[in-house]
Amino acid sequence: MKLPTRRPAWSAHAALIPMGTTVLVAYIAGILWTVRISFTSSKMLPKSDWVGLKQYEVLFASDRWATDMVNVALFGVTFITGAMVLGFLLAVFIDQKVRFEGVFRTLYLFSYSLSFVATGVIWQWMFNPTLGIQQSLRSWGWENARFDWITSQDMAIYCVVIAVLWHSAGLVMAILLAGLRGVDEEIAKAAQIEGIPRWRYYLSIVLPQMGASLGTCLVLLAVAVIKVFDAVVAMTNGGPGDATDVPTKFIMDNLFERQNIGLASAASTTMLITVLIIIAPLMYARSRSEKNA
């Protein structure tokens, strides 16, 4: 008996046209166009000449760009470490069968629902030397208390770290708590029977099993670090000087205010490559482990 040939599902193809268009036009064409511009001398309007790697030379010679890279790296390391540690501790402590667990969880996560702009504004206010925390400490008796980090070239970036940490630590807690609870309950009992102390149980038995959740958090936090913009603009606008300037702001400033599209595109392309270098192996490892699972 001859089997009927399969008619291609035209409706499905048609339904996916918006996605296809988006991918083709917005993502692929958009990225390629940006890369193309980075090889031109475009200033305010795009030109279609070819200047090779000149924009990149300007970029890497730029003091501001160098500072930005340092800032984002510093920010990234401190923020990710802080968020992972705090989130993990919060998850572990909450998992200890505490009363009011729901209340605590709600409190730790609400800041994640706020915008980065609001976050930046709040902490700008808290860090204000004349009217914020420093002044409060002084009015309580510590006359020489100093907490003017936000005005300091070296320390301002850590103010941004604290603000974004406050915003996103709850996310880490939520993800890790779910991971914690995926561990077989009977293993905890077995460890209890063997007399293994609680902290050792978390360190040696639970943590190794949480690879997936930890990896997820790491990726999400890394993405947040790369994309950080709103919080910086709202809180310090890159200042003092360039102390809290970040690559995304560099690009935005050059695109719209300084009207140097060529340079901005070179910076964008650099960021793109950096992201791909970091993300590609992660994605590859993930798809490998999914295949094995």
């Binding site: 077989d184 009977e186 293993i187 009992k189 077995a190 209890q192 029977i193 063997e194 007399g195 293994i196 102390p197 050792r200 040696s204 038995i205 190794p208 099993q209």
Partner: protein
């Protein structure tokens, strides 16, 4: 030796009492099975003995020591869980030695013990594998090994065979029994599977709704159930019951019902029976048989259904409104609707009081 003694033990979950004033004495070296349906309190009892849940009253003693408030690790117990609860990211060797290392034991002693146990349980070649690479039987042995290396006095097993398919379950059941014979340790095993209980136990503790129904050897529990619950819980198919009453005539005791009248004078009554006393008669399927041609049948029945079981068959009969199951040889030819006269082995009956459900 390593006996376990529970006195007036009470355990509650929040405000709900699960066990109330429970007494249980387990001798060293016994394999005691806590048997009962879901929610009967057997797991709660085991977890209470282990120290994983707090008791609300009473006392627990292990090997003569009062451990009611002791930490699980100080009770001299080992526990095997339904999922075996092996540490998934550690090798077998690590799984066995982890607890010992933590407790500060000298490393040479640790290695010695691990090697000894591994040999005893035939795990020596598997020491470098992770749990995911082991078979069900191997995992069970590692779970037991974890307790063995700590030189425990009592093994607690929380339904370790329940998650397995029938074939593996039978295999691991045999391994468990063999292990008990080799070690001679005290084992307390929780299950809802009565076959498991009958095979493994030296004594079965049948539980229902937090109360011990009977605590005796498998033979006694099977042949002389203390009440109707125990009678119907053990044995497959369930014991047959016929409702009726007792009649005393000329110093003989008779059981009378709509389908059967028989002499039960030989029965070992706990309390002398009285006339017109209500009575439920219980008889197992294997103790019913088609009446021989020469003798008069005790019951007239009609055949409803035949269930072939391979080594035997179960024949479902109906007499008036009483349903009965009878076990016969597989070769016996029978047809639905056939009228069969059957008889019972008089020595094998159990009589119960209809209101209290207890054995008469």
């Amino acid at each position: 030796m390593s006996n376990v003694s529970l006195q007036a033990l009470s355990i509650s979950y929040g405000k709900t009492p699960i066990l109330s004033h429970l007494d249980l004495e387990i001798q060293g070296g016994e394999f005691v099975v806590l048997l009962g349906p879901s929610g009967c309190g057997k797991s709660t009892l085991l977890h209470g003995i282990a120290g994983l849940i707090d008791v609300t009253g009473g006392r627990i003693s292990i090997a003569g020591q009062d451990v009611t408030w002791a930490d699980p690790k100080d009770r001299g117990i080992g526990m095997v869980f339904q999922s075996y609860a092996l540490y998934p990211t550690m090798t077998v060797e690590r799984n066995l030695s982890f607890g010992l290392r933590i407790s500060g034991l000298d490393i040479t002693e640790v290695k010695k013990r691990v090697a000894h146990v591994a040999e005893m349980l035939q795990l020596t070649g598997l020491l470098h594998r992770k749990p995911a690479q082991l078979s069900g039987g191997q995992r069970q042995r590692v779970a037991i090994g974890r307790a063995l290396v700590r030189d425990v006095k009592v093994f607690l097993l929380d339904e370790p065979l329940s998650n397995l398919d029938a074939k593996l379950r039978a295999e691991l059941r045999r391994e468990l029994k063999q292990l008990h014979q080799n070690l001679g340790a005290t084992m307390i095993h929780v299950t809802h599977d009565q076959i498991e209980a009958l095979t493994l136990a030296t004594r079965i503790c049948v539980m229902n709704k937090g109360v011990i129904q009977q605590f005796d050897t498998p033979e006694v529990v099977y042949s002389h159930p203390a009440n109707r619950f125990v009678a119907s819980f053990l044995g497959s198919p369930s014991m047959n019951f016929i409702e009726g009453h007792l009649q005393i005539q000329d110093r003989q005791v008779f059981f009378e019902s709509s389908v059967l009248r028989m002499d039960v004078s030989h029965y070992a009554f706990k309390v002398p029976p009285s006339s017109n006393q209500g009575c439920s008669l219980g008889i197992r399927a294997e103790h019913l048989f088609p009446a021989a041609e020469s003798t008069a049948p005790q019951m007239e029945t009609e055949l409803l259904l035949v269930e072939p079981m391979g080594a035997h068959q179960i024949v479902w009969l109906q007499s008036n409104d009483v349903s009965l199951a009878m076990q016969t040889e597989p070769q016996m030819a029978l047809s639905v609707g056939e009228k069969i006269g059957i008889a019972l082995q008089a020595q094998k009956i159990s009589l119960f009081d209809p209101s209290s459900q207890n054995r008469l």
